[in-house]
């Protein structure tokens, strides 16, 4: 499965800067889906081929227009075999709506929903009669919130923005940044090597996501599993993996994110097990094991 990260945030928060930065300084073959293809700004020398709404770079990255349908765009970019896909949500959309659609793409694993904030403008935006609710709603399901443009905000403002953001979305991990320069590891749940702190990384990395696996060898009862999934606390950010459903033991891939989930056909060769990723408040492994076991058949 290809890791997939959705990046949201209001206009001017630095999404396109982040994408440009990823493409230019890539250490992986990124596949990037963007709303405004024209805003992508890479050195002509780095462009290997460009054809309509697709741009291939010499470093192996590829950038495509998101178009009207996420599924179409993901199918097209998957053909290019990227190592990790990033989807840039439009500045007025609710990125969570886009992210949850990725749950039904069997070839992709949904990584944290990353939402950028313009730290210098954020407090004024929350007071703006026309955009306050849009900006706040974009944070509602964010898992990593990037306080960008910290160089343009005073320490006092940064502290105030942190407080407001934490009140709006206590489950998210916060990262401070300048010029949307993030370590690539910030786009994954998977813990990576801590990057060397630099002037771009005000706080290089500040997110830890406890992770553990649950066995899933015994088929689940559909209704009881649904009840378990419906009642999970918000500290459970993701569950993904192969399990079996119903008396017929249908082999399925479950992807769960924030009170929403999808079952799709399990890819061949995957071993049954559910990987749980959460915030530091994630329930103890033994509690979740007990809940899921109670939903099994027999």
């Amino acid at each position: 499965m290809i890791p997939l990260t959705v990046i949201g945030g209001f206009l001017g928060t630095g999404k396109t800067t982040l994408v440009n930065h990823l493409l230019v300084s890539a250490r992986k073959r990124w596949g990037v889906l963007v709303n405004d293809f024209g805003a992508i700004n890479v050195d002509a020398a780095l462009i290997a081929a460009q054809d309509g709404q697709t741009m291939a770079l010499t470093n192996g990255c590829v950038c495509c227009s998101l178009g009207d349908d996420l599924g179409d765009a993901l199918a097209a970019i998957a053909m290019r075999q990227p190592e990790h896909v990033v989807v840039e949500a439009s500045g007025v959309s609710d990125p969570w709506k886009i992210a949850q659609l990725a749950l039904i793409e069997p070839g992709f694993a949904l990584e944290p929903l990353v939402v950028l904030v313009d730290t210098a403008a954020f407090l004024a935006q929350l007071d703006d009669r026309w955009i306050a609710d849009t900006v706040a709603r974009q944070l509602s399901f964010a898992e990593i919130i990037v306080l960008n443009k910290c160089d343009q905000a005073s320490a006092e403002t940064i502290a105030a923005v942190r407080a407001r953001v934490q009140r709006l979305r206590p489950e998210a991990a916060l990262i401070e940044a300048i010029d949307a320069a993030l370590p690539e590891t910030a786009l994954s749940f998977a813990p990576g090597p801590r990057p060397v702190a630099s002037r771009f990384h005000v706080e290089a990395i500040g997110h830890d996501f406890p992770t553990y696996a649950l066995s899933a060898d015994v088929p689940f009862d559909r209704d009881r599993l649904r009840a378990v999934l419906s009642d999970l606390p918000r500290s459970v950010l993701r569950i993904k993996g192969k399990c079996f459903l119903g008396a017929e033991a249908a082999s399925v891939l479950l992807q769960y994110a924030a009170e929403r989930w999808a079952f799709t056909a399990a890819p061949a060769g995957l071993q049954p097990a559910l990987v749980v990723i959460g915030t530091p408040e994630l329930p103890a492994q033994s509690d979740l094991v007990a809940q899921f076991r109670a939903a099994t058949l027999g």
Binding site: P106, W130, I131, T134, F263
Partner: protein
Amino acid sequence: MSDKPQVTVFAARRIVTLDPSLPIATHVAVRDGKVLATGGVELATQFGGRLDDRFINNVIVPGFIEGHGHATDGLMWRSPYVGFFPRTAPTGQQAGGFKSIAEVIAHLRQVEVAMSDPNQPLVAWGFDPIYFDGPRMTVADLDQISATRMVVVAHVSGHILNVNTKVLDKAGFSPDSNLDGLVRDSQGRLTGELQGPAVMGRANRATGDGGLMRVLDVPGLRDYGRIAQRVGVTTSTDLANALTPENVFALRAATSEADFPIRLVPAMRAREYSVEDGLARIAELKALTTDKLRFGLVKLVVDGSIQGFTARLRWPGYHNGAQNGLWYVAPGELEAIVTAYHGAGHQLHIHTNGDEASELATEMVGRAIAAHPRQDHRHTLQHCQMADSAIFRRMKTFGMCVNLFANHIFYWGEQHAALTMGPSRVRHLDACATALACGVPLAIHSDTPVTPVDPRFTMWCAVNRISSTGRVLGEHERITPLQALHAVTLGAAYTLKLDHLAGSIEVGKFADFAVLDDDPLTVDPITIKDIPVVATVMGGQVFTAS
């Protein structure tokens, strides 16, 4: 060819000209497709013309102008129509009028049996369950039509699809999944009802070409021309067209056919282009304008729809407590786009449904005018359904026009009273009287295919304000039959900058008429929608309505 151009003099029982110098006439002389003279019986001999008295028992009014329609209406009819209200197909036959889910299913089973290709999806449109009592349509209902063929029933509101199991499978929606927009029953299973663009888009992708994503073509435009002509329309907008080379080719080909019965005024969807490219495109297209195809309008969409809960509302928000809609374009971006097109001298038609969207668009037009003072821009808010008098007063100050969605009062007025606006705000839903009282130039529209194009019906809605249950919603917002006739002729022409060419029967203007069996200004107003259309005349050419 004779040296002297042919003059035809049409005689009628009565001609309502909307020309203040002669409001009522009995004869109109036509030459070169234009009105040469209006008056009485003396015209029959004055110009040595040929007298055409086939309309001697009828009433001629200016040809109707649909100020907000979509030519994609002409494409819809390749799919079965399953609406609650009967609707006229391009062939002139009545379709739909199904009064229960069982009737819809029975009809679609017949359609399915007649389909030869087993892989072709069956996509029906116009479903309107808000008028049905009892349970909603389910996946089991649609599985009765076919278990092997994809079946989709699109709701007329445009915001919901019902699909069968085959589509759920193809789209990857497992019955055990739980995503926003997938409706589930009390047992937690999917009902096959898909709400919102995200999940609907996925289903449309699964059904592919057989779905509702067709591209406008010449046969589709011909069909739209027939639909519109039959109800007295001589000019229609196509108010959201990407205007790709393919679209423009089809528009030019269809409108250049000698028997194409209407003039078309497409609006360029600005968001298909960067601002720079859009400005270049619209300038290039203006040069292609003909008498029957006029380019120049630019369309912007600010919010969604009220009944889809995607419109932007001011306090107190949705009556049922639903979350406010999201902007389709950020306020700052809107200002930049409006300013750019305004500054370059173009005319904007801006879709705003909720009152907050109307307020925002008005503000941004005001800022654009401050930056680039310019008279007679006639930027028009389209739908503008919840504007109050304060918004209309500002629109008047800025020289803006409005095109109100009068048909909503009948089709969704009760929904708005119960769910979206509540009993107070629904009184000024599509507030025609307030717009006129504030001095805002007024047009009214159908948004076809959302509701059927039929200016008689649109007039009827604005004059009577009767909902689908038969009660009056907002009696003080009713307008007179003359005001309503003006709104579907000269008023609409004004919003399209066509009032010097169309919208009234005056010397020098296009000879575009709607020929009716009776006079909409003198019949009982409750019967305006039922006055038969006898024919249209477009550029002096007669098109019968049958």
